[in-house]
């Protein structure tokens, strides 16, 4: 009988912890700050978890009140249900579950800044990350270029598509899918046109949250197509110790699934006025794209013409655009 009583107390306590986790999820969703932890396209999973946690919590509490102590007897698994060890170990184990709840509820929500960027290293341009050249604009989405079809084919049926892809690619060798296929000149010009049309001036690209990674990728792979282009980009200021006073990086953190995989992407900016900005200030830079050099490597660089102070946006993170 003693064990039964103990057992229902555990069920009761666990029910409360489950409700606690559900409340933490719900609270983060309601304040909108969940976006500081989880990438936006993963949100359906978080909704799912919140509902299931509530449900499990309620079921646990109901279970703890059931009078006919034979909850375990109906089950043949032996015991997976209890919590082992003496009292102090049990307390310790529940404290482990209390820790994320207390931290989550009580600590302020924190956004990543240049100190994290320093530890992680900056991707100038975008490293290897090649994103699909699909902007948010409808004109481009309507285009039936091959790469869009591929993305759709993948979205409809990831498994089948990848198998197909393997079959397609195998005989022709691994080099079949090259950068050029995704960023061929024509498609790239189209992209330019749509972006330029949208902002009503020739040869001008405004980098915003949705196209940040796309443009960084395009800059990295096709710098020559961009040199001489006017560009406006917003982000936080990051400086390496060896930078000149008029040099800085305008950077953003990108998130794929959760904040643990955050990576920093940025573009080198040079120009008079840059020295006025401190590490982590948010700034909007307008200038001309040119070839720059850092650590003996050619990198995209914006020769700045104007700087503008910016507030840190509510959601400082950018996401890959493929989802």
């Amino acid at each position: 009988m003693n064990e039964e009583r103990d057992y229902s107390f555990h069920a009761y306590l666990r029910g409360i912890f489950l409700l606690g986790f559900a409340l933490l999820n719900l609270g983060l969703i309601m304040t909108g700050n969940i976006q500081l932890y989880i990438a936006s396209h993963m949100m359906p999973l978080i909704y799912f978890a919140t509902v299931v946690l509530f449900l499990l919590g309620v079921i646990q509490i109901i279970r703890s009140t059931s009078k006919n102590g034979n909850i375990e007897a109906a089950c043949q698994c032996g015991s997976d249900h209890g919590i082992e060890g003496p009292k102090w170990i049990q307390t310790g184990i529940y404290s482990i579950f209390l820790l994320p709840l207390v931290l989550g509820f009580a600590l302020p929500d924190h956004t990543f800044d240049s100190s994290v960027a320093e530890m992680r290293g900056i991707q100038y341009g975008s490293g290897q990350l090649a994103q699909e050249d699909t902007g948010p604009d409808g004109a481009e989405a309507a285009e039936t270029d091959e790469s869009n079809d591929r993305a759709e084919a993948y979205m409809d049926d990831p498994d089948g598509y990848l198998t197909e892809l393997d079959e397609d690619a195998a005989p022709e060798g691994e080099d079949h899918y090259t950068v050029e296929e995704y960023y061929d000149q024509e498609q790239f010009d189209n992209h330019f046109e749509t972006v330029a049309d949208e902002y009503g001036s020739d040869n001008f690209v405004e980098v915003d949250d949705t196209n940040f990674l796309d443009i960084m990728t395009a800059l990295d792979h096709h710098l020559h197509d961009f040199t001489g282009t006017k560009m406006e980009v917003m982000g936080f200021v990051y400086r390496e110790p060896e930078f000149e006073d008029d040099q800085m990086v305008v950077a953003r953190f990108s998130m794929t699934c959760c904040i643990a995989d955050a990576t920093v992407y940025g573009v080198l900016v040079e120009g008079e006025g840059a020295e006025a900005y401190e590490q982590d200030d948010w700034v909007r830079v307008r200038g001309t794209v040119e070839e720059g050099e850092y650590m003996d490597e050619t990198l995209p660089q914006i020769q700045a013409e104007s700087f503008e102070d910016e507030e840190e946006p509510d959601n400082p993170y950018v996401y890959p655009s493929f989802q």
């Binding site: 666990r14 932890y37 043949q76 698994c77 249900h81 600590l107 302020p108 929500d109 794929t256 493929f322």
Partner: protein, 342 residues
């Protein structure tokens, strides 16, 4: 009712109610704490906290999926049924196991409860090992994200999935050679009693209880697994915060060193296998393709958070062998590939 030891019932109930009220109060206070917090920590520890919560919030839905699959197996799949579908020859089971692992979209947080449950139900150990190693990598979602991250040059993509399939079978085979079918799970004494009582034929559980049982199992297993996940996420968050990645890159001077460094890195980061490809891609300018593939192979097979779970549920000797074999297998496969193919 006999006297219970410990605190009286009203105290226990009261404690729970106070706890719940506390959560509710904190919940309604969240809009205020979002910016300032009730208390606060130095900035770098806020980063640790953010990564810790990020990993956890992200992992919980997957863990829930894992424990529900496990609970459904427990309640609805009988041992007889399982044994009927398994090939009689131990080695013949390896290949279908790897294929099955590729079909189930289960990542590394969810795979441990499922494998543990299947082994408890009588599935051979080495088949479980194939799942453990293969399933987190060989799955459609991971294939998708790896493909997107490395679209420029699919070498890493092919290396990851080709080698994951081969290595899963190889590692499963080696584990069979060492352990045969000896039981490597930890059983508690009362569980062994439970195990016995299964042998004494009981009637099938009553139908109306099955749904209830599934939910009970799922939430109990959530707590069983959850504590290890939380501990692992906390340690991983500290590594994520305090490890300088460019220093890491400076260690990887040659092929073997950079492969070893990337494997160690994958181990401590404990990333979700769905997202690790993008992190690997961000190292494209610092590391060669072989090392990136090593990162993408080793991390999902073995990392900090799942090591803690493995030690909790399997015998220590088994986990140590498993870790050594996986490490050697991944490392030599990558070195071999770099020597002969790249």
């Amino acid at each position: 009712m006999p006297k219970t030891s410990g605190p009286p019932a009203w105290l226990k109930d009261g404690f729970g109610i106070v706890l719940l009220l506390g959560f509710i109060l904190l919940f309604f206070n969240m809009a205020n704490t979002a910016d300032d917090g009730i208390f606060t920590l130095p900035s770098e520890w806020l980063v640790v906290n953010t990564i810790f919560l990020g990993i956890l919030l992200e992992a919980i839905p997957f863990l829930l999926l894992g424990v529900f699959v496990s609970a459904l197996i427990q309640v609805f799949v009988s041992e007889d049924a399982l044994n009927r579908y398994l090939p009689k020859n131990a080695y013949a089971a390896l290949f279908p196991a790897a294929v099955l692992g590729a079909i189930f979209p289960i990542c590394e947080c969810a795979i441990i409860p499922v494998v543990r449950r299947l082994i408890k139900k009588g599935m051979p150990l080495h088949v479980g090992v194939v799942f453990l190693v293969g399933a987190p990598i060989l799955n459609p979602v991971v294939a998708g994200s790896t493909y997107f991250a490395f679209r420029d040059d699919l070498t890493v993509f092919y290396l990851r999935f080709g080698l994951a399939f081969g290595l899963a079978i190889l590692i499963g085979g080696i584990m069979y050679l060492i352990f045969k079918n000896r039981d490597q799970l930890k059983w508690r004494s009362e569980e062994l009693l439970g195990k016995e009582s299964i042998d004494i034929k009981q009637g099938p559980p009553q139908k109306q209880h099955r749904l209830k049982q599934t939910f009970y199992h799922a939430s109990d297993e959530f707590f069983l697994m959850g504590k290890y996940l939380i501990a692992g996420a906390l340690i991983a968050a500290m590594f994520q915060t305090f490890l300088d990645r460019e220093f890491l890159a400076s260690l990887g001077a040659n092929d073997w060193a950079s492969t070893a460094v990337m494997m160690a890195f994958a181990y401590v980061l404990s990333l979700c296998s769905e997202a690790d490809a993008f992190v690997a891609a961000s190292f494209g300018n610092l590391f060669n393709e072989g090392s990136l593939a090593a990162f993408l192979l080793y991390g999902p097979m073995l990392d900090l958070k799942n090591t803690i779970m493995l030690f909790a549920f399997f015998k220590a000797r088994f986990v140590l062998y498993f870790m050594v074999i996986v490490t050697i297998a991944v490392f030599s496969a990558i070195m071999g590939v770099q020597l002969f193919l790249l």
